[in-house]
Subunit: 74 residues, 6 copies
């Protein structure tokens, strides 16, 4: 089963969760070692600027997901 | 109740508030510890470059919200 | 009266001014203390990289405002 | 006369020049002191990362200008 | 054979892989020396902020690929 | 002859090359001294984060070029 079968989600909130998933996947594919990623977690989870950049990536992916769902208008 | 039931807002100003909410939610979901986030607040609230980056995230999310509302034209 | 009654402006130049206003508002909402923001002003106003990032935020907001005005074509 | 009477340009190259102008204007409006900006010039003009960020701002503004001109298709 | 014959992909997941490929290609074209790129790998693969920026590039390219595929709606 | 006669390219690969050209042109116009740019080359060509930012600029310009070519669909 694909980790990304579709960009469609039932609700905006699920769309936002998908944007987070898309944001993390690029990190995972660049650093596939789970333990290495886990070790870095405190570095960004406790740094305000790091968290802001994470939020920028999510915002960029949310643009894509929201568009794909026609902004959940209908 | 969802924290994001819809991207629709009555006015541009409410849309801007929603963009701020979207920007903060990614931070909250990455660092769910309220106290940890509170401790970091002075780090970015008193740093000009940090605030500029926060504003970039809000601008990116506002693009999405404004589009979802057809720029509040009608 | 709302600080953002509409994204419509009469001219591209006014649209650019609105983009600057949108960029500053996110900073103001994150750091509401006027004196604190004033103290930070020399930090970014005299730093080339800081100013470039400010310009990136304005560019991102100008995309939104220009689109909302159909690029002032008509 | 406005510094930005229109987003329309006759050619893609002129559109790119307008994107540069838009990028510089946000800097000028944030730091209106000509001498201060001139002093900072060597800081970014001789720093590779600074120049890359300048290019990101121009790219973002060029998206807007190109769209306003329907990509100079006709 | 071109490394980029088309922006069309059969699935969203393949589209995401193409976004990663596009992101890496700009690096390769700026630093064509394979050994030099390989030497830098630990620098970004073990740095949280570097990985976040990589994810931002992928998100930006995924916007393009997703749009080119009409979000794999049909 | 203009360095940017059109945003149209025959193929996606040529479109990507044009995105690289657009990315470099902003640098060239900000630092017109060829020798100065050449001196900076090792700074970014051997720094992973610098290369990631270069890739972000190319991704942003590629969005514009791809849209101008209707994603080479026809």
């Amino acid at each position: 089963m694909s980790w990304l079968p579709s960009l469609k989600t039932a609700t905006p909130e699920e769309g936002y969760e998908l944007a987070i998933k898309l944001s993390r996947m690029a990190v995972k594919k660049t650093q596939p070692d789970d333990a290495a990623r886990e070790r870095m977690r405190p570095d960004y989870a406790n740094n305000a600027d790091s968290l802001t950049q994470v939020s920028l990536v999510v915002a960029t992916n949310f643009q894509t997901v929201a568009k794909a769902n026609d902004y959940w208008k209908s």
